[in-house]
């Protein structure tokens, strides 16, 4: 719906609100633009004016950032960590969402309330004993050990998002599959899972970004140079490369450019999942 007054004649309030939006856009992208602007500049040019356009395109910054940020190690660890977190979370959450939505089990209410409480549980409430148990088990630095933790953190929200998709699938479909002799696992695999594909994509994207960006757990459990993720490798440059801002900006570019592209391609799913749980009717 377009309101007649807003659409046809520009008013003072319309002008003011446009100015507000433009300001908001500028503030949102300014630090990111500065990264793009300074990525190709040598340190001296950045120090003399961070707002100036690059006069030459020097790719040396990228080479130094790639080595200094240990990105070759980081990208492998980040992909392993986020990839295994997504697979584990999707498997556990989709199965649990099906069981909780269909309510064939006793205590489904209790389990639902447990996961609801787990959505907002502070990481610090379980971090410290968990760390020292992991240390005893020799799991510090193990990406799959860390993926277990990130999965546990992402499970509750994933279960609730997927449960909504299962609830939108009529029970008659389960019953029809049952009549045809399918057991619940076959029903889940052949009937439910294909029908909740948009939900699975949404959850996969959100969990992937969450675990790619996660800091507290990752920095605590992925200690040691060979265990660094991309974000941790870049963080290790901070301070030591203070006099090589060209490399710092190139490192930031390496870190954020793929995520921005990924987000722009997937934003529809991301926004759908983000708002699904938060908008209350």
């Amino acid at each position: 719906m377009t309101t007649p007054s807003e659409a046809n004649r520009p008013t003072v309030s319309h002008f003011a609100s446009t100015a507000f939006l433009v300001g908001a856009v500028l503030i949102s992208v300014l630090p990111l633009l500065l990264v793009a602007l300074n990525t190709f500049k040598p340190h001296a040019d950045i120090v003399s004016n961070p707002l100036s356009l690059p006069t030459s395109f020097n790719f040396q910054n990228f080479a130094r950032a790639w080595n200094g940020g240990h990105f070759a190690t980081g990208i492998v660890n980040s992909l392993l960590l986020s990839g295994s977190t997504v697979i584990l979370t999707l498997t556990c959450a989709s199965l649990a969402a099906f069981a909780l939505a269909r309510r064939h089990i006793r205590f489904w209410q209790l389990i639902t309330i447990y996961f609801l409480c787990a959505t907002t549980v502070p990481i610090q409430l379980f971090l410290f004993p968990l760390y020292f148990v992991y240390a005893k088990l020799g799991l510090i630095g193990n990406v799959f050990g860390t993926a277990l933790i990130l999965s546990a953190i992402n499970l509750p929200i994933s279960i609730f998002l997927l449960r909504a998709y299962v609830l939108s699938i009529p029970r008659d479909i389960d019953d029809a599959a049952f009549m045809d002799g399918a057991n619940p696992l076959q029903t889940f695999w052949h009937v439910i899972l294909p029908l909740m594909r948009p939900g699975l994509i949404t959850v996969a994207i959100i969990v992937f970004l969450n675990s790619w960006n996660e800091f507290l757990i990752t920095s605590t459990f992925q200690k040691g140079r060979e265990h660094l993720t991309m974000t941790l490798g870049y963080l290790s440059m901070n301070g030591t490369y203070a006099t090589d801002q060209g490399a710092m900006m190139a490192g930031a570019f390496i870190l954020i450019a793929p995520i921005i592209v990924f987000f722009l391609v997937m934003q529809r799913f991301f926004i759908a999942g983000m708002t699904a749980g938060a908008v209350k009717g």
Partner: protein, 287 residues
Amino acid sequence: MIPQRAYHYAFVSPALLLSIGIVLVPALLTFAVAFMDWDGASLPSFVGLSNFAAVFQDGVFWGALFDNVQWTVIFLTIPMTIALVTASILMSRKKSGAVYQIIFLLPYVLSPVANAVIWQNIIFDPVSGLLGYISHNFFPIQDPLTDTRTALYAVAGVDIWHFWGYLTVVFFAAMRQTPEDQLEAAFLEGANGWQVFWNITLPNILPTVALMFVLVTIFSFLTFDYVYLITQGGPARSTEMLSTFAYSFAFTSFEVGKAATVALVMSFFGLIASVVYVWISRSGFDA
């Protein structure tokens, strides 16, 4: 034949076991450890309430708690207001609104590490940052991160920059659920933008605003990433939060008992808000 119910128990158990093993059992251990003296490696010994006594007598604890309270007040007002205003403006531009919300979300989808390091180096830094450039060429600005009076607000500014887009997108989505006939009626009666917001849009999205209020309160008492990345609680502990305070107990001085104690205190504030959150969300149970 295996009964149908058995399958469903098997379906829910991987998620339940994972969550119990990683979250519930260690959380219960935290309760126990808060009453013990433990360095994380040797055997813990029971010390009663002495961790609580030591923490409550520590001035840094109260400073951290006060910083968390300030953080909560800041986040419940500034990003909430900006997001409500922005979402209302986007309501009158529903076509371009889709583009605006993507731009506003960019900082939200980037990692705290990237955001914090970018701000430190290219905005705040007195040598290489934008503030340094302005300071050298136009008028003097002190690096806000090195001043105990401003550091907390500078860090909060970066976190707000990263977070407000999330609130905007959520509010915008909620506002689009407003019944069209109510909006049309208001415009026919000549209501201005503020009247429409106050009398129609806001009442309609009130449950969402309430939910965000609770979530922001929870996150404010747990906030860690930006503070730890940008100031590590400094300068002179002026940005110390309960989370960074607990973290340094556990991993710098290896007083895990005290770390657990502080974790319990911050969880307590989160818990109060969580009870409200579960209460607000309970309507979803029967959906």
